[in-house]
């Protein structure tokens, strides 16, 4: 199968998935619709991390910090007896996440390799403790988003987030928008530099690129997009706890990106579906589902480099009788 046909098949697959997602509420129950919405939000989260990990080569183990900060921004900005205005609280949440990413980026991007992985984890843990130990976030119990944001602008209310169906389609819209946005960015001069940095940062520097600035921009952008996901998650569930910033959350989203196949936006979405799908499946079987999940992860690393999105390519190779590594 030549590359053009391959990419056409991939496009058809993506459109099919999108169609399925759009049509889902018609066939699925309210419970499953909410679950799919959750997966879609996590897919946005995963794509934001893929920008860092898969495209820029920055392995962040603390990405949940920005997700959680945006979620808390929503909860804290929502008054006790009234809903907040969407057009105020959404930019606020994303901005909060972006600012946090910018300042943390100033520190962590001074390091490389293993150090980078560890310090991103450590800074996220710091953010976790801020919400867990201080009165800021209502402590370990978390806080409620008392009302879903109100979308009224200039007297007109285009949609009502209290209607589950409308909220669902807003989430779908957000996913498509983030996907399209990242696709464009990655094709842009800026995006090509990021990919170049992942390939050979030293060479990029010797070609005249101020790589630190590009990495900081990528880190901030990724944080902002994680904030979009955090905002949606808080609105969806109406409840925010410090666990949104925990290293388990950071670990989970990293797993989604790696399992789905990095350097591939569709892979991040796929990874989110696969991860939550497996989680649901395994927890139906046993309360010790993490054992199975861990087993799958270990097996995936040992036997499936390249993740799920590389699977079709590898299957095709086998089908076509080719030998060699995937």
């Amino acid at each position: 199968m030549n590359p053009t046909t391959q990419s056409r098949v991939a496009m058809i697959f993506k459109l099919a998935v999108l169609a399925g997602v759009i049509a889902f509420p018609v066939f699925g129950s309210a419970f499953y619709t909410e679950m799919v919405a959750k997966v879609l939000v996590l897919a946005i989260f995963a794509m934001s991390l893929d920008l860092l990990v898969g495209f820029t080569g920055l392995v962040s183990l603390g990405h949940a910090a920005y997700f959680g900060i945006a979620a808390y921004a929503v909860a804290l900005a929502t008054p006790k007896y009234d809903p907040a205005n969407l057009w105020v609280v959404f930019p606020l949440a994303v901005l909060a996440a972006a600012l946090a990413a910018f300042f943390i980026g100033l520190f962590v991007l001074r390091t490389k390799g293993i150090y980078f992985i560890m310090v991103t984890l450590a800074f996220a843990q710091m953010a976790y403790y801020i919400f867990h130990d201080t009165p800021l976030g209502g402590g370990s119990d978390g806080i409620y988003v008392n009302f879903k944001p109100d979308a009224t602008i200039a007297g007109w209310t285009p949609f009502d987030l209290n209607e589950p169906l409308q909220l669902y389609y807003i989430v779908v819209l957000a996913l498509v928008a983030v996907f399209a946005f990242l696709s464009l960015v990655l094709r842009s001069p800026f995006g090509r530099v990021l990919v170049g940095i992942r390939s050979n940062e030293h060479r990029m520097q010797s070609l005249g690129y101020a790589t630190f600035r590009y990495k900081l921009a990528a880190f901030t952008l990724a944080g902002a997009l994680a904030g979009v996901a955090g905002f949606l998650y808080a609105v969806l569930f109406g409840f925010v706890t410090p666990e949104y910033l925990s290293w388990h959350q950071s670990g989970n989203v990293l797993m989604m990106v790696i399992l789905g196949g990095m350097g591939n936006l569709g892979g991040a979405v796929l990874g989110a579906f696969a991860f939550i799908g497996l989680q649901e499946l395994f927890s139906d079987w046993t309360k010790h589902w993490q054992l199975l999940m861990g087993g799958v992860i270990v097996a995936a690393v040992l036997f499936m480099p390249g993740g799920l999105s590389a699977l079709p390519r590898r299957i095709l190779k086998v089908v076509n009788g080719e030998r060699g590594n995937g």
Partner: protein, 288 residues
């Protein structure tokens, strides 16, 4: 704060820091020598603590349990290296992170299945259960002093191992050039297995020693893991000496942080790390 309380905090900080050193030293050795990032390292600490609990329930004697536990932990580490970690040397950091994260999940659930999710206590052995009086009202537990002494002795032992033995020389050589070391006739696979097993044993021992004072509970692996990472970042990857200094720094920062600013105690450690990062992004004692 009066002098006696101050002294107690100093002793606590020392004991905590030295215990952290045991855990972090294994981590930094594995990082520095084999280039592997191991998120499951905290799990070894937890396994040590639960092992102490289980064995002490059977034998009734913590010291005996520790004596049994150390070789068990060592063997477990060797087995784990042979089964899984040996495949990671050629993989990139990302895959190592992924695989060891999966291991954390597996270890946590296995622990949940075999030992349950309750918090357990372990009794301090009778001969160490006394306290040394420091003033009219305050005294300090002998057991905590014992921990500090044991950790210091191990630190000394590690130093002697690294600087004065053939094994230590091979370890230091192996960190610089794998192929070269192999061509000298040293079995690099055996060397790596030994280093890894040593790291596991150190972390497990720390867990065993800590069991009576910090209790045995789910999630104890996670908190120690991240602090260990901070210590290795501050001390520099591969530097045992750096790990010791950083561990003591963290021990003091955390202990006095809890006393002086209890609401922000959890943050102090990370603020210290941030400060060090500003000054020296590759750790205080970055090894070449």
């Amino acid at each position: 704060m009066d002098f006696t309380t101050f002294l107690i905090q100093i002793l606590n900080a020392l004991q905590y820091g030295l215990l952290l050193f045991l855990v972090a030293s294994g981590l930094t050795l594995v990082f520095g020598i084999m280039g592997i990032i191991n998120l499951a390292h905290g799990s070894f600490y937890m396994i040590g603590a639960y092992l102490a609990f289980a064995l002490t329930s059977m034998t009734g004697n913590l010291m005996l349990s520790i004596a049994l536990g150390i070789p068990l932990a060592f063997a477990f580490g060797a087995l784990l290296e042979w089964l899984l970690f040996a495949h990671l040397y050629k993989r990139d950091h990302l895959e190592q992170v992924l695989l060891t994260y999966g291991l954390i999940l597996i270890f946590e659930e296995l622990r949940s299945i075999t030992m349950g999710d309750d918090v357990h206590g372990v009794d301090i052995p009778a001969m160490f259960s006394a306290s040394i009086p420091l003033s009219d009202t305050l005294s300090y537990p002998v057991y905590r002093i014992l921990i500090s002494v044991v950790c210091l002795a191990l630190a000394g032992g590690l130093w002697w191992l690294m600087q004065r033995t053939r094994l230590g020389m091979m370890i230091r050589a192996g960190s610089h050039d794998r192929d070269m070391v192999q061509s000298l006739g040293i079995d690099i696979n055996l060397l790596y297995r030994t280093v890894f097993a040593l790291g596991v044993a150190l972390a497990a021992l720390a867990g065993m020693l800590a069991a009576p004072i910090s209790s045995v509970y789910p999630g104890m692996g996670g908190s120690v893991l991240i602090i260990s990472f901070v210590i290795v970042v501050i001390g520099g990857i591969g530097s045992v000496w750096g790990a010791l200094l950083a561990a003591l720094l963290i021990g003091f920062a955390d202990t006095f942080g809890k006393v002086l600013v209890p609401d922000l105690a959890g943050l102090v450690v990370y603020l210290v790390m941030a400060a060090v990062l500003l000054w020296r992004p590759e750790g205080i004692f970055r090894k070449g």
